[in-house]
């Protein structure tokens, strides 16, 4: 009972404040209407309790109760050197708002738009109106509903058809202590176009005591190629709920790699709908948790059409009292013949108290398909440990080498060399800190 009371109180707080939020903004009527619908849905749904099947292992009470402090440290000097990706276009958001001074967007092919969503909205862009909230439904999802009601900014990327953006776009979201930020990203990639996007969440300062509720909507056209990375390295006190909704058209190739090292409670929801034939979708992930971190990955591969392939590998390393959740849904609709879906989830538990709840969930309605899934949970391999020690490597180092290799399997798939190198270094440091 207490849980419900707490969650309801938090819901009411957001609902009550919404009118004032709207009145402070001068927005187009369509957007205003969208926000009103969203807050109404949020009011009806409320924050999910652990009785909700999709939130069984993730208690959001601390997230719901978190309040914007009076003065989140939005100002002060910030350098972004630490996160630099050489050569990439950089868009920095502090507390969910675009920072032109920290950002630098280089030259882009003619016709390509890369800007903040607030800027795109201020131009009253028709394409934004047509696409915003079209993919990420808030009908039954409380966090996307809340985000739709309250978002202020985020990234807007539009690549018309037949264009290749060679240089990666780096979206860097810095969360200041004490801030609630709800960034909204809209990524529209046209037919035959190609782009690489890095979506990174880190904390600006302190321990990252903030709450980020992000929504990223992706629409990828026919034969489009999109490589996406989501990096979450917020501090030990951060709350992060992120939703990515991907809509793919035929022959599109989409891949996303999600890497999570930071945060106290982190929930990623990644959903891909294969809405045409010949699509290839990859959702991979690495998460490393220590102390009392909770890292929850929920994925959906929705095979709606025939001849599509999906690949999914998630690896987790959990130490201390950390808790991992993996839920991987694969839907193969009635028409989706010749589907080839592969899913694997591997978890390494480094302590007795660490815990993983892994649930592959396959719902197959077509009859001529190939679907495989596997989940392994375990400790380091004794034979491998002995082999390294028998060559003179001490036990401590041997364990480190094997743990690193287990996790690095995912990082090796990162195609952007400077990002991969930075993540390898971060992985090494993270593993040192949790052992």
């Amino acid at each position: 009972m207490k849980t419900i009371v707490e969650l309801d109180a938090a819901r009411d707080r957001y609902v009550t404040r919404h009118e004032a939020f709207l009145n402070n903004r001068s927005e187009a009527a369509w957007l205003r209407q969208l926000r009103v619908q969203a807050i109404e849905r949020f009011a009806a749904l409320g924050f999910p309790g652990t009785r909700h099947e999709e939130w069984k292992y993730t208690d959001v009470r601390p997230i719901a109760a978190f309040e914007n402090s009076d003065a989140p440290s939005l100002n002060g000097n910030t350098t972004t050197e630490k996160w630099a990706l050489e050569g990439a276009h950089l868009l920095v958001f502090v507390g969910g708002k675009f920072s032109p001074t920290l950002s630098h967007i280089g030259e882009l092919p003619a016709g390509v738009t890369v800007c903040s969503l607030a800027e795109a909205l201020s131009r009253d862009s028709e394409i934004v109106q047509q696409n915003l909230a079209r993919y990420a439904s808030f009908e039954n999802e409380a966090f996307p509903a809340l985000n739709t009601a309250y978002f202020e900014d985020g990234a807007f990327i539009h690549v018309p058809q037949n264009l290749v953006v060679e240089t990666p776009i780096h979206l860097l979201f810095l969360t200041p202590d004490g801030a609630v930020s709800q960034p909204r990203n809209l990524l529209l990639i046209g037919d035959n176009s190609q782009i690489t996007i890095v979506e990174e969440y880190a904390n600006k300062n302190g321990v990252g005591a903030g709450f980020t509720n992000s929504v990223t909507e992706v629409s990828a056209g026919k034969n489009a190629h999109l490589d996406h990375y989501k990096i979450t390295t917020e501090g030990a006190a951060a709350f992060h709920v992120g939703t990515m909704q991907v809509q793919q058209d035929r022959d599109c190739v989409f891949s996303s790699h999600s890497v999570t090292f930071g945060g106290k409670i982190v929930r990623h929801q990644a959903n891909a709908i294969m809405g045409g034939s010949g699509i290839e979708t990859t959702l991979n992930g690495l998460y490393v948790g220590g102390e009392d971190q909770l890292i929850d990955n929920h994925t959906v591969m929705d095979h709606a059409e025939p001849h599509c392939a999906s690949h999914e590998v998630y690896a987790g390393v959990l130490a201390g009292r950390s808790h991992g959740v993996f839920n991987g849904k694969i839907f193969v609709r009635l028409d989706a013949q010749k589907t080839d879906a592969k899913q694997s989830n591997r978890t390494l538990l480094l302590s007795r108290e660490a815990e993983i709840d892994a649930k592959p969930q396959l719902e197959i309605f077509a009859d001529d398909v190939k679907c495989t899934h596997g989940a392994t949970i375990g400790q380091l391999d004794d034979d491998a440990l002995f082999y390294l020690r028998a060559r003179g490597i001490n036990e401590h180092d041997a364990r480190d080498i094997l743990t690193y290799a287990f996790a690095n399997d995912i990082l090796e798939r990162v195609q952007i060399a400077p990002l991969r190198e930075r993540l390898e270094k971060a992985l090494f440091e993270k593993l040192q800190s949790i052992r």
């Binding site: 390294l388 020690r389 028998a390 060559r391 090796e412």
Partner: protein, 255 residues
Amino acid sequence: MQEKPVILEIRDLHARIEDKEILRGINLTVRAGETHAIMGLNGSGKSTLAQVLAGREEYKVTQGEVLYKGENLLDMAPDERAQKGVFLAFQYPVEIPGVNTSYFLRAALNSIRKSRGEEEMDATEFLKLVRQKMGLVELDKSFLSRSINEGFSGGEKKRFEIFQMAVLEPALGILDETDSGLDIDALRVVAQGVNALKSDENAFVVVTHYQRLLNYIVPDFVHILMEGRIVQTGDKQLAIDLDATGYKELQEAAR
């Protein structure tokens, strides 16, 4: 002539795995410059002996002692044994995906050097050493960018073991059925590698099923292991006789 120093001394060694006693009183003295072959049927305890010497924790020593250069070997952790110069060429080398062979071997070499108070070897120096040693066992340099034993053929795995031994230069090399499953060409390459490493300072214990290997790695002593004990010791002729008559006769004679 002065006797060479003793490298390994095994006295009345008994060992078991779970409830099964496998070694029942092994006695063996190995001096510098010597090569000892240990032969026996499956289950006679050959591989157990090799594993016990390397420090595999599943095997419990219940009686006896093992001295390595005068020190109690059984008190040492597996990595300490390796640092002091004991090397086991595994019967079944372990595949370790994601751990690069070159990184691994340099980490091994440097932890051995560090334990001896020597300077760590830098990447350039290491590469030079590795190139030179690879030739010994005819390994291609593409091995350096692969993961440990991952996707290696049976013969490649065994050659990789000998290559590691060549880089780490142990004082005591224990080969656990390194010849099993090798064709004659691979066998020659492996034997060549071992022979090139032999010196007056080190010693080898070669555990094998087949006499054939001993045509290429010529032993000074051949020991026949049966039911956890050495029942007969001779020179290389013993292995040849054994190959002709078989273990059965020997078994009967022993009774």
